[in-house]
Amino acid sequence: MHPAIRQIEHYLTRHLDGVLLGLVVALMTLGLAVLISASNLSPMRITGQLINMLFALGLLWVFANIPPHFLSRLALPLYCLGVLLLVAVAVGGDKIQGARRWLDLGITRIQPSELMKIAVPLAMAWYFDRHEAALRLRHYVVATFILVVPIALIVKQPDLGTAVLITAAGFFVLFLAGLHWRIIAGLAALVIGSLPFVWGALHDYQRQRILMLLDPSQDPLGAGYHTIQSTIAVGSGGWLGKGWLSGTQTHLDFIPERTTDFVFAVFGEEFGLLGCVVLLGLFLSVISRGMLITANAPTMFTRLLAGAITLTFFTYAFVNIGMVIGILPVVGVPLPLISYGGTSLASICIGIGILMSIHSHKKLVQT
């Protein structure tokens, strides 16, 4: 091989992690296969998702090449911008299906809550890193404040799925930053104690979804319909599934949102237990790789950021699958790298890109 080409190749790939990239591509391939079936071979959706994937991989590469210290400098401005946009959404956002989530910028519409999935853990990691030398209780309080402000704005939209994901991400940062066990216990007590108030603040449809989890058969054609049909789909798959493109629940339109939030039902129906085990194995591999990177991260900032990204990825997968198989309430959380949709693909790939960056820039920091 010509040395120049080798040079270019080295330049292109030096910050990429082969293991993670392989896993991501494998998951995307599976996602595309399921989408082909779930969309009933819709060429528009398939090419659309292909473009989304290429774009997301591009973002992955870009973020893999951004050194972590540069990110830490971006943390505060990014966070502030995010909060400002959320406020703007709350004041003048576009209302779609009863929820105010989108901000019209004239050229394009954006969903600022999506940005916060990265910006919140980034800001918290940056904040803890600044006070690494002597972490006191007040630092945890301030970090919690950083977390709660955007969450409150997002719950108000309302977008329960994103709020759950950001809360989880923030909590993981607090946890990994060494929040004292007593405080964790206290917080747990506080959360349980505040449940009745949270219940009162929830929208009717949100309450319905939670109630339906307890007994989906109560309203089989209403709120319980999604869960009943998705569990039927998964269960009817059996050991080996009904085969690609052969899921009856999928192709006869019994699974709602089957290309997006309920795509796992399609997967379970057509690929069966074998497919599910492979998929869970792939997710677990991504998480394991992420944890390994986290464990070896050189600074507090990178450790917390890598941990938060890894555990958020876990939260995505867990909440989504849990909802489809009927052990968690229905919240709008996509299945990472599988669900149709550019936004979630982009934010997941940005996260994985950051993980790669943390991994590859470690040596540079240490030397």
Binding site: E132, A133, F172, F175, L176, G178, Q229, T231, I232, A233, V234, G235, S236, G237, G238, W239, T248, Q249, L252, D253, F254, G268, E269, G272, L273, C276, V277, L280, F283, L284, I287, S288, M291, T294, A295, T299, M300, R303, G307, L311, F314, F318, I321, G322, I325, G326, I327
Partner: protein
């Protein structure tokens, strides 16, 4: 990292290492949590896909496969010459699923902006809704035009629970004339559902909304209905069929071919004119019913989709009682048409000989009570022939007295008086053949000998259906061999191209002496030739036998005279005629009654003449003249 100003670098490094150690402990805990949660997911997935697989697989199949019944075509009904009396046509209907709609009235108002919905449609729908209470679909409009279909289809999304369906409809082209014999179908009601369930037939009615309600439609329901087919259809979540997986086609119902002659029926129906009445004509040699008229009829098509309340009340409360099947359920005193049978009884029991005469002074005294003859001054010297031809009442007062009520009852029972004929329409009335035993049972009192007297001229407790009168004269015409009256002659299996003949069933053979029959039959010929109906049968190209009759509606008090013009029309006498022809080899026997039309000779005999002329000669009567003597004002 800012470690430039640290006093003790060793502590700093140890702190950093301790910190990393703490961090890794936390990370391990998090990893444990992740693993536990994944195991939870895996456990639930294994539970669903392995433990509950069978159950959930079945549910998925039930989701996708819908068993759709395919309603069979109902068999046709045609007369002996192939004239169709009941058939099916396909039309589009607008149907509503009431259980899916919160406010039916406002829905109908909205639909009415697209598709015309008349007040009649609304009333009918309301009545259907009250009757069915089921979860099925109910038609709100039938026979949509192409334009209406297009208009509704464009707005369909606004009306969940409302749909357009192609349905087969039953139609009766000559509904009014055949209303009581062909009958009609109607929507299956709760009582019928229970009956079908009890008979184990409910499965065959899965796709059917209709069932025979009256007449032949009801009696031959199990032949006409056909066998319901089944289609296994794959449906999507909206219940829309995607493709057919398997199907068993429906088998059409059998067709009925009748003995009935539609044109004869029409001639008879029209001959009765504006009056109420009934006519039953039977082929004496087979028992085949040639005409079965009850007038007025009604448009049975109104009943097919459920009748609306206005039309229902109008029919139900009409003084003409069009809903009553007079031929089957109207019971009338036979009047003088009873006399030929009385004469036969007198001969059979040896109470009279043909030549034996009586003197008829115009009345018969019994127990200080005067029984008047309809002819003031009487008929003078009367033998059996003259008693029938001139219709002497006195002769039969005496004969009845000589026979006694029980002998009369025993003899008349053989002709089918007072018992159901067993015709192939349900709900037949038995009439009343009075006897001592009957009176004891009915009124719990003794029979008075004086009551026997008027029985002899067909009055008193005597009460029979026109069908029974026709059956009796057919039996007489056939020399005492009685066949069970049958309207249907063949059942056609359309698919197998088979025709099954309904065999004539001999009901009984009467033990009558040939010479006795000859005497009475000769006298009946005399009635049409030179007797009470001679005027009606003047110039007939065939020899017919007949007997006039007049049935009293109200009793006339002693010493009073019945003056027709003074009696309210509904209480005037009924006019009757029984006949058969040709006399030597009868092809048709009939009984006709025209309500409140007076003497038998006046109204009923001309009807019989028209019917016989048509049946034997193919002569179609001229259209009814609108202006008649007794309806001079016209209509």
């Amino acid at each position: 990292m800012s470690n430039g100003l640290s006093i003790n670098p060793g502590v700093e490094i140890r702190n950093a290492q301790l910190e990393i150690h703490h961090f890794r402990v936390r990370l391990v805990i998090a990893a444990g949590f992740v693993l536990a949660m994944f195991l939870l997911l895996a456990g639930r997935i294994v539970y669903l896909q392995v433990v509950k697989h069978g159950e959930l697989y079945t549910l998925a199949e039930a989701n996708r496969i819908s068993i759709v019944p395919v309603a069979p075509n109902r068999g046709l009904i045609a007369d002996r010459n192939g004239i169709v009396l009941a058939h099916n046509y396909s039309a589009y209907t607008l149907e509503v699923q009431p259980h899916r709609i919160a406010n039916l009235d406002s829905l109908i108002d909205e639909v009415a902006t697209l598709v015309e919905i008349t007040p009649r449609d609304r009333r009918r729908f309301k009545k259907l809704l009250e009757e069915t209470k089921s979860v099925g679909t109910l038609p709100i409009r039938t026979r949509l035009t192409d334009e209406e279909i297009a208009r509704f289809a464009a707005h369909r999304y606004r009306f969940p629970g409302v749909e357009i369906n192609a349905r087969l409809f039953r139609q009766y082209p000559q509904g009014e004339i055949f209303s009581h014999v062909v009958g009609h179908i109607g929507r299956i009601n709760q009582r019928e559902v229970e009956q079908l369930e009890a008979d184990g037939l409910i499965a065959n009615y899965r796709g059917s909304d209709y069932i025979g309600k009256t007449g032949l439609e009801q009696y031959y329901e199990r032949y006409l209905h056909g066998t319901t087919g089944v289609e296994e259809v794959e449906v999507d979540s909206g219940g829309r069929p995607v493709r057919t997986l398997s199907s068993t086609p429906a088998v059409s119902g059998h067709n009925l071919v009748l003995h009935l002659d539609a044109r004869l029926q029409e001639v008879a129906y029209n001959a009765i004119g504006e009056r109420r009445g009934s006519l039953v004509a039977i082929d004496p040699a087979t028992g085949g019913v040639l005409a079965f008229v009850s007038k007025p009829g009604f448009d049975v098509n109104l009943f097919v989709d459920g009748i609306d309340s206005v039309n229902w009340n109008e029919l139900n409360n009409s003084p003409d009682k069009p809903l009553v099947n007079r031929a089957l359920n109207g019971t009338y005193p036979p009047g003088s048409t009873f006399k030929p049978y009385m004469a036969l009884a007198g001969l059979a029991y040896g109470k009279r000989t043909p030549q034996q005469t009586i003197r008829d002074p115009g009345y018969f005294m019994f127990g200080g009570h005067q029984f008047r003859d309809s002819r003031p001054g009487g008929h003078g010297i009367v033998d059996m022939y003259k008693s029938i031809v001139m219709s002497s009442d006195t002769y039969y007062y005496m004969l009845a007295n000589d026979l006694g009520i029980d002998a009369i009852a025993r003899f008349m029972a053989q002709f089918g008086f007072g018992s159901r004929t067993g015709i192939d329409i349900s709900g037949e009335s038995a009439g009343v053949l009075p006897s001592q035993e009957w009176k004891l049972r009915r009124f719990n009192t003794k029979w008075f000998p004086g009551e026997t007297i008027s029985i002899g001229i067909g009055q008193g407790y005597n009460s029979y259906t026109p069908l029974q009168l026709a059956q009796a004269i057919a039996t007489l015409a056939n020399d005492g061999v009685a066949y069970r009256p049958r309207i249907v002659s063949h059942i056609e299996d359309f698919r197998a191209q088979e025709r099954t003949l309904i065999e004539s069933q001999r009901a009984r053979t009467l033990d009558l002496k040939r010479e006795h029959l000859a005497v009475v039959k000769n006298a009946l010929v005399g009635v049409a030739k030179e007797g009470t109906s001679a005027r009606s049968f003047a110039g007939a190209a065939y020899v017919s036998a007949g007997k006039t009759g007049t049935a009293q509606v109200i009793g006339i008090k002693q010493g009073e005279k019945y003056v027709e013009s003074k009696v309210h029309e509904q209480l005037r006498d009924h006019s009757l005629y029984i006949a058969y022809a040709p006399a030597e080899k009868p092809r048709i026997a009939l009984a006709v009654i025209v309500e409140n039309a007076g003497f038998g000779a006046r109204a009923a005999a001309p009807v019989a003449r028209k019917v016989l002329d048509y049946y034997l000669l193919g002569k179609v009567p001229a259209p009814e003249r609108r202006v008649r003597e007794d309806h001079a004002s016209g209509h």
